[in-house]
């Protein structure tokens, strides 16, 4: 309502001034006023959320209106008349959806050089309103069928994830990810999980230096930050990303990130540490994640990642995580150090990727002894864990087509008992290898119908793992 009053006052004031000028000047001012009214109407529609982009409506709008909307939003650029016939792009709307367009070649011309046109300038409040934009909700879902040999089969709504964000200004943005695992959360421990995996605010300063704080994903490995079902092969995430790197690894923290140029980007955070009292022999660090639940920050962890993606199809990365983890075990403060390298490359119809991860934990002798005394069971935590995998995929159809089938093979080697402290023996069933063979059918790029067969082996002569057959349906929207 306040905005409407301002509009009415502006119009009234303009009308009073008009009475004092010549007819020619009056005519000119009338034309100018009409333009202003169009502009203000557009702004009002945006504020009232009535201008959600609809392809048909955009196509019907005259180019002048589109240009005005764009200029009102940014005040230093003007869209030129749209060059080709067809749908016209819109300026940023209240829901921040880009212009919806036909999925063919599209053209937009814009200048980055024109100063603000004083005649079209708008109140600063309008500028603020136009720059504060809201993103729609997106998300991904993952539905699985798993059959482990000699065990019963199960259907699982494994993940239901919603992502949404908000732009407070051009340079202050919020992003979040909320996940429900296994469909049902009872709060009694053994069923599903409801997690806030990401909820942070970015403060954008320079391309090479920006700030971020809140609930963050640890920037370690391929899948921790890149886990939408269509973006990886296999129904389940890799064993290395489950038992060596505890994906999804998230916690509260803050840090910096940016683009260093020549294809290099980085992230470096200070985060809440892991809890060493919950490490174990089989799943390594996994139980030690605090997940932002009143995270103890007696110690802090430092983590970072450097990525290279200067060539189309190629992405290389290296990451580290280091921190003391002994806040809940008196007198013992084991240091955990994670080092990781990964690479992905797509060429012709082939998709190649690999990852290596190495984990060192100090003071494991004291830690195992303390936990055995307090809990009655020796957790047999290793002082070194290591895992790696390589994967080859082949597109059965040319990769640029949306309708695709990709066959893949992956070899994984992962050992959560690789090196033990003096006086402790490794449990050989946790020195494991996996051969995963499968295929992913993409009826369209955002839907993945997956199949794989996983052959598991370990070094134990007593305890043997079981192979599994897995089917999955995952989608992104």
């Amino acid at each position: 309502m306040r905005f409407h009053h301002i509009v009415l006052l502006l119009l009234a004031a303009s009308g009073l001034l008009e009475a004092q000028v010549t007819p020619e000047a009056q005519q000119k001012r009338m034309e100018e006023m009409e333009r202003r009214i169009l502009l203000l109407e557009e702004q009002i529609r945006q504020l009232e959320g009535k201008d959600a982009p609809e392809p048909g409506a955009q196509a019907a709008s005259p180019p002048e209106i589109q240009a005005t909307a764009a200029q009102g939003a940014q005040a230093d650029a003007v869209l030129e008349p749209v060059l080709p016939p067809g749908p016209v792009p819109a300026g940023p709307g209240p829901n921040d959806e880009p212009a919806a367009r036909e999925p063919t070649s599209q053209t937009l011309a814009a200048t980055g050089d024109q100063p603000p046109d004083a005649q079209l300038s708008v109140p600063s409040m309008d500028d603020l309103a136009s720059s504060e934009t809201r993103l729609p909700v997106s998300g991904y879902m993952d539905f699985h069928f798993n059959k482990v040999r000699n065990e019963g089969s199960q259907l699982d709504m494994h993940r239901f994830v919603l992502l949404f964000g908000h732009s407070f200004t051009d340079r202050i943005q919020f992003w979040s990810e909320i996940e429900i695992e296994h469909a049902f959360v009872s709060g009694e421990g053994e069923l599903g999980e409801l997690e806030v995996e990401q909820a942070f605010v970015d403060f954008l300063v320079k391309p090479w230096l920006n700030f971020r704080g809140g609930m963050l994903l640890a920037p370690v490995g391929i899948q921790n930050e890149r886990h939408e079902p269509p973006s990886y092969q296999g129904v389940e995430r890799t064993f290395v990303d489950t038992f060596i790197l505890p994906t999804t690894w998230f916690d509260s923290g803050a840090g910096i990130f940016g683009d260093l140029g020549n294809g290099f980007v980085y992230r470096a955070y200070v985060m809440s540490p892991l809890d060493a009292s919950r490490f174990d022999a089989g799943e390594g660090l996994r139980g030690g994640r605090q997940k932002g639940f009143q995270s103890v920050t007696q110690n802090v962890a430092y983590t970072g990642r450097l990525e290279y993606h200067g060539m189309p199809g190629l992405a290389l990365g290296g990451s580290f995580w280091t921190g003391n983890t002994g806040f809940s075990v008196p007198g013992i403060n084991p240091r955990v150090r994670v080092l990781e390298f990964d690479g992905r490359y797509g060429i012709s119809r082939f998709e190649l990727r690999g990852q290596f991860a190495d984990v060192d934990i100090s003071q494991t002798s004291q830690l195992n002894t303390f936990l055995q005394r307090s809990a009655g069971v020796n957790p047999n935590i290793a002082r070194n864990m290591r895992g790696f995998y390589w994967e080859t995929g082949y597109h059965l159809r040319p990769r640029h087509l949306p309708h695709d089938v990709l066959a893949f093979f992956r070899y994984e080697n992962f050992d959560t008992q690789r090196k033990m402290a003096r006086g402790f023996l490794p449990l050989r069933q946790f020195d494991r290898q996996a051969w995963v063979l499968g295929a992913t059918y993409y009826p369209e790029p955002d839907i993945a119908v997956k199949f794989d067969y996983s052959i598991l082996r370990n070094e134990s002569s007593i305890i043997k793992p079981h192979n599994s057959l897995n089917l999955g349906l995952g989608w992104w929207f």
């Binding site: 994903l217 890149r226 993606h309 060539m311």
Partner: protein, 127 residues
């Protein structure tokens, strides 16, 4: 033996970097139009390739943007540009940017594309 293992890992991961020093095909001046720069850009979770473009003032930058996976957005806030880059197989988006004023023009993905959507950014530097 341990050192050899690490050397092998580094060699495998870093070998493609030497190839990366070759001129990128993504940037090219057209022979007919000396002040036109054509940028063939790939948008993929969660980066643009190339992500940093430097041009001289007065250059017209023609972006041909295609996606390697899902829908992305391409937005240059300072220029009022905000368009969809269609999914893999959906064609390419062409954007013409007249870079006649010096400055920095940040671009970003404006269509949520995954967990790392906020990392997907780039810069046009007009000198």
């Amino acid at each position: 033996m341990k050192h050899k293992f690490w050397l092998l890992i580094f060699a495998v991961l870093l070998a493609p970097l030497s190839a990366a020093k070759a001129p990128l095909p993504a940037l090219a001046k057209t022979a007919e139009e000396p002040n036109v720069r054509v940028v063939n850009m790939v948008a993929e979770r969660f980066f643009f390739v190339p992500s940093r473009i430097t041009v001289s003032a007065g250059t017209t930058v023609k972006f041909n943007i295609r996606s390697a996976d899902t829908n992305h957005g391409f937005r240059i806030r300072k220029a009022g540009i905000n368009v969809v880059v269609p999914k893999r197989g959906g064609g390419e988006t062409k954007v013409v940017f007249h870079a006649t004023q010096k400055g920095r023009y940040d671009f970003e993905c404006s269509k949520p594309c995954g967990a790392g959507h906020n990392m997907m950014r780039g810069t046009i530097i007009v000198k």
